[in-house]
Symmetry: C2
Subunit: 343 residues, 2 copies
DNA sequence: CTGTTAGCGCCTTCAA
DNA sequence: TTGAAGGCGCTAACAG
């Protein structure tokens, strides 16, 4: 692999000069500049980022750690964050915790070791090593949490207004005439899931409906398991709720699978609305009513905050955490139709 | 940020000793080892990967460049590759070309600069800078291409057996009694798309059916645009084909959208089968018949080859390119049902 | 076993 | 405007 030295030799100049033409740090005369460029081309020279970073202690790289790339919400967030990073000349590297605390720990260490200049973090759903997050921030690497906001850590965060968004979805089901509405959530250890559940309760209470514990079901983000949780409670036509609201995408898949397994039609037999698009909700027959998060904006906004923190430098330690809550939008489609319609 | 020197001072030993306890490169006596570990903990020391890489010229990092993380196929590939990398103690960083040649070029340079030890590449669909790929390989960074295999570059590659897989899907439609079968492809500049088209033709020819040019439609991987391409050709009940086969996931979404826009029911009005799962094909009403690629295996297999190449070292230049073609599986669901059924 | 030291490739003063 | 030289943090000889 050619080095700056080789380039300098071939061009008949010193390494300093080569460095200057590469970085434009100091003006270099036309003829030398041309010679250097030619040498770079001839050798197919690529500056060694590693060495440069060591010298400057700037990697111009951000890291993003998500639980699962195959949940459609996260790639969208990544795209948004990538765009924002790119605007500022940063690149973004993405890693997967598979929603596993140990893996998350390893990967945070990895990112730390790699000297990314900032980290976007969606915590794993198990017990999160909050201490580690604080440690990383103390080490001078800013962290911004997305979507899932850890409790008790003063950290910048960007997410959707969870309670209001869930309330909006449930309000809609109520407005459509549904009375017994069940909710299916992800792991309740996650604050955003708890807040979505809160929104559900607020909606019911606001409408003077009773919150029944038997109508609050918890899943684990795995569609098959969620389907298995729901199916038995959907069999009896009497005990069965009139509508279901689910709080995230994978859970929605599970619920829909349970409907299919139980031979239930939507919305005739049971109505449905969910948090998060499944990429094809509008194509379902019937199409699925959805509370849509501004996923790209979440990523973009979080990355911007992170970049600002990086720019600010270590001053961050003292300043207040920034908390951004974005609005979700309700896409009303067919699945949430009124009860009792038998077309 | 603490350095190895600080750790050495605090522990009262030399930097060499610290390095040895960290890497286990040489046995270190119990008492010293404990002192070093304590110092590491106290300082919250994280070895600087950047410096280590500079010294060893080993980053133990692989890069993967995909066109679009939001196409579900790619995250699955990444998961597979990540698993394989992890097995060998490597980590994987993922970047997005947004299917743009220039961006791809930049990102390849970035990965090259970052000194990843190998690159998994899914080329962008425009004209690909093949020269760059060769240059990277000449620079000693092995490259394995996935899914989309560039022409005329002797490079290792892993993909599905495209022609056979497409043929399997179309054969099935034929077996269900369809005669006028249209195909909707992605950009035909991609070899895998051409091969899938070949498979379609083989299937028709094998069944003694005519290949009609008017039934070969090309899209650009953007569902909305694909829908716009299909819709006008689906309006006339006479000219309309009896079945459609699409060659990838985003295209399938477009086709389904066109069905919806034209008020066509599947399979009553028109039958449908496609390459690639949409994560929820089984939930559609009707569920969608799909040719499923072993996405994770593709990623895993490609990463293993890459790791092997890295291990082999520069010997790679001489050896033959490895070409792996995996089998797809046909998931028969409702959308491909026989014609003329009006339930 | 432990300490010392020479670079890895690059950027950045500092002189010339 | 150009060149020479120090050092970023770490590993890997080599010496003790």
């Amino acid at each position: 692999m050619p080095t700056i030295k080789k380039v300098a030799e071939l061009a008949g100049v010193s390494v300093g000069t080569v460095s200057h033409v590469i970085n434009g740090s100091v003006p270099v005369s036309e003829p030398l500049r041309l010679k250097v460029r030619a040498a770079i081309r001839d050798l197919n020279y690529q500056p060694n980022h590693v060495a440069r970073s060591l010298k400057t202690s700037k990697t111009r790289t951000l890291g993003i750690l998500v639980p699962d790339l195959t949940i459609t919400f996260f790639p969208q967030v990544i795209r948004g964050a990538e765009d924002a990073a790119r605007e500022s000349g940063y690149s973004l590297i993405a890693v997967n915790s598979t929603d596993d605390g140990d893996r998350q720990k390893e990967l945070l260490s990895l990112l730390h070791s790699q000297r990314v200049e900032g980290i976007l973090l969606v915590v794993a759903s198990g017990p999160s090593p909050l201490a580690q997050i604080s440690r990383i921030m103390e080490a001078g690497i800013p962290v911004v949490c997305l979507d899932r906001i850890p409790d008790r850590v003063p950290v910048d965060s960007v997410s959707v207004e969870d309670a209001a968004a869930a309330k909006m979805g449930v309000d809609h089901l109520i407005a459509m005439g549904h009375r017994r509405i069940a909710i299916v959530t992800g792991p309740i250890s996650l604050k955003n899931e708890r807040r979505r559940l809160d929104g559900y309760k607020q909606a019911l209470e606001g409408a003077g409906l009773e919150v029944e514990d038997e109508l609050i079901w918890h899943g684990n983000l795995r569609p098959e398991d969620v389907a298995a949780v729901c199916a038995p409670r959907l069999r009896g036509p009497l005990s069965r709720p009139g509508a279901i609201f689910s709080t995230n995408g994978p859970t929605a898949l599970g619920v829909l699978r349970a409907f299919r397994d139980c031979g239930l039609r939507t919305p005739q037999d049971i109505a449905f609305a969910t948090f998060d698009e499944l990429t094809c909700d509008d194509l379902f027959t019937p199409s699925v009513t959805t509370v849509v998060q501004p996923a790209r904006d979440i990523g973009c906004c979080a990355a911007r905050i992170l970049l600002r923190r990086i720019e600010e430098g270590p001053a961050q330690n003292v300043s207040q955490p920034i908390t951004i809550r974005l609005q979700a939008a309700l896409k009303i489609r067919e699945s949430s139709g009124p009860p009792g319609v038998k077309p």
